[in-house]
């Protein structure tokens, strides 16, 4: 398959989204089938490109010097693009039901579909400029989604999101410049592209720059101290929070950090320097911080968002180990967290959609009424806690294996943080489960709670099933990640 199909995969949802706005649809059903069709076709193309496509470089536009917009497929691409290609059709299906009573459904789906293309752009980007471009676009295209409800709160949240993201990108841009100047090329090549000479002479400077860019891209994956936008952005409709703020957007941040660390600066250069420790310390702190905030939060979506903050830093922590195993661990959490968190968000959204309530303390006893939803929620909770047999354990296992293997002193603290976060996760997730299944005697259960329609239940069940399946049969996936990390794939 020619690699021009990459372009098709990126552009189809974007164009499709715009067309959606222009085309007149007779009724919702047509529109829904149109959207789902676009998304599924994109996913199919993506899948074909990933596994059958040529491994060449596709240059689209040439900018200054060695800067260009170009795409390619490598291991990381497969991971990210594959993940979202699986999740997007499901999330869209879920969104149909979630958004059914919304007046501005059309504009929602327009941007929702466009975001798909932009995210794919990040995944396929072959060099730092292309990634930066789509990274910025991702910020912008998701803005209408976050502020969809147009409440004061939403607008406030969206502003914060924008400023944080763009600000972060501005800092990351600085790093980009350094890579352009001190690197052999801007392309992502496992092991880094820095001049050896530049590394020697400018090492102290480059380390600072790495830190700067780490913090910059870290904004999107909600690394402390810039994590507060994520919970605030939870005002968005749940399909957005679930897919974008638990998977696509935030993973893009982690993805960018991995790209930068492993493919641009190179781990040989960074490993063992102070900056590695600094970044790792930040990640470790964020892990604990995010989870503690989640415990304190009683709004279900915000709670999950804080949980996301913590979990994303697992990925970052894996990345900062700067060993191939660390990368493999990071990637496994990258994928697995996606499935787990989208499940829990979907469930939370289903609860909110059906009952109109949104706080944990309003969930008394609903587990007995919304059986399917809360069964899945429980699965995701167990997964997030890292109970063996569920996917979360696999990624934790890989991460810690890498941490132990790295022999890095701070990594041991990281393992401890992972476990502290696990217990905190247990507190905030099982707290919910408990309430839902074992309400206090005097508590009042919401009367009208019941399982939502199939459009919601099916995606949720599938994602939950993935959590279990990945937990039990993870070996092929993990081996694949190790291949990527060792540069064999």
């Amino acid at each position: 398959m020619s690699h021009y199909w990459i372009l098709a995969a990126i552009l189809l949802p974007i164009v499709g989204g715009v067309l959606l706005y222009i085309l007149p649809f007779k009724n919702k059903k047509y529109m829904h089938s149109y959207v789902e069709l676009i998304v599924i076709i994109t996913s199919v193309i993506t899948g074909l490109v990933l596994f059958k496509g040529e491994r060449g470089l596709l240059e689209v536009v040439h900018f200054v010097n060695n800067l260009s917009i170009s795409f390619k497929i490598d291991g990381m691409t497969v991971v990210f693009a594959g993940l979202i290609a699986i999740l997007w059709p499901l999330a869209t299906l879920y969104a149909f039901e979630y958004m059914e009573h919304d007046e501005r459904e059309k504009s929602f789906f327009m941007f929702y579909t466009m975001t798909y293309g932009v995210t794919l752009g990040i995944a396929f980007a072959s060099d730092i400029l292309t990634m930066y471009l789509f990274y910025e676009l991702l910020t912008l295209v998701t803005v209408p989604l976050v502020m969809h409800t147009l409440t004061r709160e939403a607008i406030h949240a969206v502003r914060k999101y924008l400023y944080f993201s763009l600000g972060g990108a501005a800092f990351a841009l600085m790093a980009m410049i350094f890579i352009i100047i001190y690197g052999d090329s801007c392309e992502f090549i496992l092991g880094g592209v820095m001049h050896t000479a530049a590394e020697g002479e400018h090492a102290p400077l480059l380390l600072w720059i790495y830190l700067l860019s780490f913090m910059g891209f870290g904004v999107k994956s909600a690394v402390w101290p810039t994590s507060s936008w994520l919970p605030q952005a939870g005002v968005a409709p749940t399909p957005v929070t679930a897919l974008l703020h638990a998977v696509a957007v935030v993973n893009a941040g982690a993805f960018a950090i991995i790209r930068l660390t492993y493919y641009s600066f190179g781990t040989d250069f960074l490993a063992g320097t102070w900056v590695q420790y600094a970044c790792m310390a930040i990640a470790i702190f964020t892990i604990v911080y995010g989870c503690s905030r989640a415990v304190k939060e009683s709004h279900i979506k915000r709670r999950l968002a804080w949980s996301t903050v913590g979990n994303l830093s697992y990925i970052i922590f894996g990345a900062t180990l700067m060993t191939p195993l660390g990368l493999a661990g990071a990637l496994s959490h990258f994928v697995i967290h996606g499935f787990m968190k989208i499940t829990s968000f979907f469930c939370a959204g289903a609860f909110m959609h059906v009952t109109g309530k949104s706080y944990v303390y309003e969930m008394d006893g609903v587990g007995r009424k919304m059986k399917c939803i809360y069964a899945c929620f429980t699965v995701s909770a167990l997964g997030l806690m890292g109970v063996p047999g569920f996917a979360g354990f696999i990624s934790k296992w890989n991460l810690t294996e890498a941490a132990v293997e790295s022999g890095n002193g701070l990594a041991i603290a990281g393992i401890a943080a992972l476990l502290v976060s696990a217990i905190l996760t247990a507190i905030y997730m099982l707290g919910v489960v408990h309430r839902a299944y074992f309400p206090k005697n005097e508590a009042v259960t919401i009367e009208n709670a019941k399982d939502p329609g199939w459009k919601m239940c099916v995606p949720i069940a599938l994602c939950a099933a993935m959590t279990v399946i990945l937990g039990l049969f993870a070996s092929p996936m993990v081996e694949f990640f190790e291949k990527i990390a060792f540069g064999i794939y």
Partner: protein, 504 residues
């Protein structure tokens, strides 16, 4: 000498004479003449530009009349001059088109032709600033430029505008006074007024090591003079009023062309009169650098606090001028290239913003306050898109012009051998964030839908593309210019580099 090499002279004269002719024409015809003249000048400049870019003469001097140097007056043209002239013409034309509707409303019938006289004079003086090889000519045209610009502000005769004009004039006069003083002192030191001759003498003086202090003072006075005129922080107090209250074409032209003309002259002085090495060796650049940085931050901070969209854009100009001076202040060629590119990209972007902002305010009952602008982009979609693109460019989204200039600034900073790197990078990043804050805040605001009943209550009207074809076309053209700058930057940068080399 090929015929095409007469273009600089022709274009200056053409615009000046059409100004004079306009004084006897009625407003409508003056406008037509003006449009025609700009197009012709643009075509001529394009011709020259193509010629210069393809031929290998690099640059040439053009003696006015028959007096040879050092007595005669000279023009000088190269690829950078021709390109800038072309760019200025395009932006001017688009700004006038974009603001035409508004301008017809805001300016009385009687003064219509006056407006175009001033425009023509302004263009001719800008062209003269670009092409001239003579410092005193430059001074004279600066004054013409100042008066024309003052007229452009004042022509909308309300209190704000007159007050803004007088403030603008005062600052301008301070600047041109200093510049004139500097020119005189330079003449005193070297005995010449032609740039190339001064350069020779300056080199000799510098080599001899005499007159260090007078030289420094001279350079300082001239630089400060031009900096004041181009509204470098902290001499920007006139900017928000002048850009904010004048009719929109004037605001756009002032911010994207007039101040740029001075900067272009300053760059010429740096390269052609003093010699860039001399300049880079003095501390003048450090001062420019620091004020540039301050301007970047201060302009943006003020813009954030602003509640009026036009004034906000005006404050943003202060910040952008800061960028340019920061680039100059870096003291490397990369820095200057970045500054020149930013001069272009900011010119293209800022005028787009001014023009589309007017479209938005018109769709909000003429109110310029943010609360009324809610949802304006839905009422005037073309203007909304224009503002969106302008904002993205300002914030530095790739594909748009602003990104490239930011990239160039940063690259220049990274390659610096001295202490300026970190301040530059940090301020660049911070100012990007600040830019994002006020521009995207506005974008969000204008793209926030409002309920129809609220609209009906306030009496805001929707404007469709068909009702404002010229405006729409202008916006589209602006966007195209922006995209060209953003995506085809490589040849442009190469030409700038080539042009700067020709300066030496």
């Amino acid at each position: 000498m090929a015929f095409v090499q007469n273009v600089p002279f022709f274009s200056i004269m053409l615009s000046m004479f059409s100004g004079i002719v306009s004084s006897i024409l009625p407003g409508k015809w003056a406008r037509r003449l003006n449009t025609f003249m700009i197009i012709v000048v643009a075509a001529l400049s394009a011709w020259l530009f193509a010629f210069m870019a393809t031929s290998d003469i690099g640059s040439y001097t053009y003696a006015m009349g028959h007096f040879p140097a050092p007595i005669g007056n000279e023009l000088r043209a190269g690829v950078l001059e021709a390109g800038t002239a072309l760019f200025f013409c395009i932006i001017m034309l688009l700004s006038l088109w974009g603001g035409r509707e508004k301008q017809i409303l805001e300016i009385t019938e009687r003064q219509q032709n006056l407006y175009y006289i001033l425009c023509n004079l302004l263009l001719s003086s800008l062209l003269a600033l670009i092409y001239t090889n003579d410092l005193f000519t430059a001074y004279v045209f600066i004054e013409i430029n100042t008066i024309a610009a003052g007229g452009l502000i004042m022509v909308r005769q309300n209190g704000h505008c007159i007050e803004a004009t007088i403030r603008y004039m005062i600052m301008s006069l301070l600047g041109s006074g200093l510049l004139l003083m500097g020119i005189c002192m330079l003449y005193d030191l070297t005995g010449h007024l032609l740039m190339s001759n001064i350069k020779e003498q300056v080199d000799i003086i510098m080599a001899a090591g005499t007159y260090r202090i007078p030289m420094l003072i001279t350079i300082g006075i001239m630089t400060v003079g031009l900096a004041i005129k181009s509204a470098l922080f902290p001499f920007h107090s006139w900017v928000p009023d002048a850009y904010g209250y004048s009719t929109v074409s004037s605001g756009a032209i002032l911010s994207s062309l007039v101040s740029k003309g001075y900067i272009f002259l300053l760059i010429k002085i740096f390269y052609r009169v003093i010699g860039f090495d001399t300049i880079a060796g003095s501390h003048i650049l450090n001062i420019l650098f620091i004020f540039g940085l301050c301007g970047m931050i201060f302009g943006s901070v003020s813009a954030i606090g602003e509640n009026d969209i036009r004034r906000m854009i005006a404050f943003s100009s202060v910040a952008q001028i800061g960028y340019i001076y920061m680039g100059l202040g870096l003291g490397t060629e990369m820095g200057v290239i970045a500054a020149v590119f930013h001069l272009l990209s900011h010119g293209a972007t800022k005028s787009l913003l001014f023009v589309s902002a007017v479209g938005l305010t018109d769709a909000s009952g003429g109110s310029r306050h943010f609360t009324d602008l809610t949802g304006a982009a839905f009422r005037n979609k073309t203007a909304g898109v224009g503002f969106l693109v302008g904002s993205f460019s300002m914030v530095g989204i790739p594909v748009f012009a602003g990104f490239v200039s930011k990239l160039l600034f940063a690259e220049a900073a990274v390659l610096l051998p001295n202490w300026k790197m970190f301040p530059t990078l940090i301020v660049l990043a911070v100012s990007t964030v600040l830019n994002a804050i006020y521009f995207l805040k506005t974008v969000i605001r204008i793209y926030t839908p409002v309920k129809p009943e609220v609209l009906a209550e306030k009496g805001f009207e929707c404007k469709h593309f068909k009702q404002q074809v010229l405006f729409g076309v202008t916006i589209v053209l602006f966007i195209i210019v922006n995209l060209i700058l953003g995506m085809k930057s490589q040849p442009i940068i190469e030409l700038i580099e080539q042009g700067l080399h020709n300066f030496m």
